[in-house]
């Protein structure tokens, strides 16, 4: 019986403290201030696990050199196909009306400006006839079709409505020293 009383009084003490603290905060702070603090706390908590990654991505933009319409451009070290930058797109964007393939092959290219190696994704732009301009075929790290994640020989127009091949872009996925 005594134990139950002690527990009840404990609960009462916690309730009373919470009520008093709330009343005190309500007197001191506006509702907007409270919400803004709460929001900051939630956002901070959500962003916390991403900090090392976002810091490395935000560190700097990629320093560029070279002509994106030339096969010698550093990003094209494992490129195969028509360069989209010559077809109405850019080195990272597909020409109008085409569909970017979500599936790609990868390569590792050396950026001569910062001396770092970057993991590249080569995505085909699909759904139109072959562009045919600025044909480029480089084979740094290229592997045969049975090892297709790094094989440029494959038509990579998968997961799109029309699977005809138009041209290819090159996206930086990250640096290999990250």
């Amino acid at each position: 019986m005594n134990i139950e009383r002690i527990i009840d009084s404990g609960y009462y003490w916690i309730d009373d403290k919470a009520r008093r603290t709330s009343l005190s905060l309500a007197r001191k702070l506006s509702r907007r201030n409270f919400l803004s603090k709460l929001g900051m706390m939630l956002a901070g908590a959500a962003a916390f696990p991403l900090l090392p990654v976002s810091r490395s991505f935000a560190q700097n933009s990629i320093q560029e050199v070279g002509d994106p319409q030339s096969c010698e451009y550093w990003r094209y070290c494992a490129m195969s196909g028509s360069i989209c930058a010559c077809c109405g797109g850019s080195s990272t964007s597909c020409p109008p009306g085409t569909q970017p393939s979500p599936i790609s092959w990868v390569g590792t290219c050396h950026n001569p400006v910062d001396g770092r190696d970057y993991l590249m994704s080569y995505n085909d732009c699909c759904g139109k006839s072959y562009c045919g301009r600025c044909s480029c075929h480089r084979t740094e790290g290229d592997k045969p079709v049975y090892f297709n994640s790094t094989s440029s020989t494959v038509y990579w127009c998968f997961g799109v409505e029309d699977t005809s091949y138009h041209c290819t872009v090159s996206l930086v996925l990250g640096s290999t020293d990250q």
Partner: protein
């Protein structure tokens, strides 16, 4: 009126005399003569021409889809088989993959077997394989995972699709089996039953490292099995004995590594004459990652004595090559980009250039 009628009648009767006795010619259509020695198929992006290498004459043409990987023939059935892929509106619209069957006499399609729209659509000879005495056709798929479609070309039905993750290049062996090269450095043997369904699957020991020295995804049929080739020029003779995969000890293309030469190309760049055991391979001077550089020479290697017999200097880079399987074999060479006056026909034993054939756009040859 009587005079006009009489004149018209007279002209009609006299016309044969006026124009001599030549009967007007009637248009006709040829049918294919019986195939002769050293006939071959020259495949382009959307067609396949039939040539006689002895005379240089063209005998006819198969119309194929732009995406056809290869075309093959089974002599006893007098039929050609091609895997094809079409879009309903040319380059867009609904896609339909199929195996098309062409008759020999007219080179016209006589049957179609619709298959899953997973065909790899790459110009690779080993993406088609005829098995079981010409009954089953294996078509390679990439979606993007690897698989193989089996079609019964006798009954004209799709049998089923075999999943072959990480493995490609279909090399027919035994009665109804095929070998594949896998990314983990092994070979995979798939054995089919008489209906074309998978009965057994075996995997070899690892015999190459894809990162250090990958084996090409082009292979050459030999008398007993297949010849595989690595980027640095290592040769592997492989075969099967029922469900056992046999891989002979590797050896180098004689003399190549010493002087910095490697095999390579983007088309079919190696071929073996089965009876003599002579290998014809396109070679270039280059280092790491030059495996797609086209050959400037063709090297002839005797697989029996493992000796280099000849280095044939080419005027143009080699686009594709094939040696026919006759007693007096011909070496067919397509210079890259149509340079060099068309398809070159060499005597494959004396290495003498016999003739050039105009064959625009030739990408791959097939013997039959």
């Amino acid at each position: 009126m009587r005079i006009i009628t009489a004149m018209a009648l007279g002209l009609t009767l006299a016309s044969p005399l006026l124009f001599g006795q030549i009967a007007p010619e009637q248009i006709s259509v040829e049918t294919m003569p019986a195939p002769g020695t050293n006939w071959f198929i020259s495949k382009t992006g959307g067609s396949a021409r039939v040539f006689d290498a002895e005379t240089g004459e063209m005998h006819g043409l198969l119309s194929l889809s732009d995406w056809t990987p290869a075309v093959t023939m089974w002599n006893p059935s007098k039929e050609f088989y091609a895997a094809e892929s079409y879009f309903a509106r040319g380059i867009r619209g609904e896609r339909t993959d199929m195996v098309a069957i062409y008759d020999y006499d007219n080179l016209r399609p006589i049957a179609e077997v619709i298959i899953p729209n997973h065909m790899a659509r790459l110009g690779v000879r080993a993406h088609l394989a005829l098995l079981n005495n010409g009954r089953h056709l294996a078509v390679h798929n990439m979606n993007p995972g690897h698989s193989v479609t089996i079609v019964d070309v006798q009954d004209r039905v799709f049998v089923y699709e075999i999943s072959t993750p990480g493995c490609a290049v279909n090399m027919a062996v035994g009665q109804n089996d095929f070998l594949q090269i896998c990314g983990d450095g092994t070979l995979q043997l798939i054995q089919l039953d008489l209906s074309g369904f998978e009965q057994n699957r075996e995997r070899s020991e690892m015999f190459f490292n894809v990162q250090e020295d990958a084996v090409f995804d082009r292979a050459a049929k030999t008398a007993n099995g297949w010849l595989l080739l690595s980027h640095t020029g290592l040769l592997f003779e492989v075969s099967t004995d029922d469900d056992e995969i046999l891989i002979e000890e590797a050896w180098n293309i004689p003399g190549a590594a010493d002087i910095g030469w490697r095999p390579g190309g983007r088309g079919e760049f190696l071929s073996v004459h089965h009876d003599s055991g002579l290998l014809y391979v396109a070679m270039h001077e280059g280092g790491v990652d030059t495996h797609h550089d086209r050959g400037t020479e063709i090297w002839v290697v005797d697989l029996n004595s493992r000796r280099l017999l000849r280095r044939m200097e080419m005027e143009s880079e080699v686009g594709t090559l094939l040696v026919t399987q006759e007693d007096n074999p011909k070496l067919l060479v397509q210079p890259f980009g149509g340079e060099g006056g068309g398809t070159q026909i060499y005597n494959a034993l004396t290495f003498v250039l016999e003739r050039s054939i105009q064959a625009p756009g030739a990408q791959m040859f097939e013997d039959f």
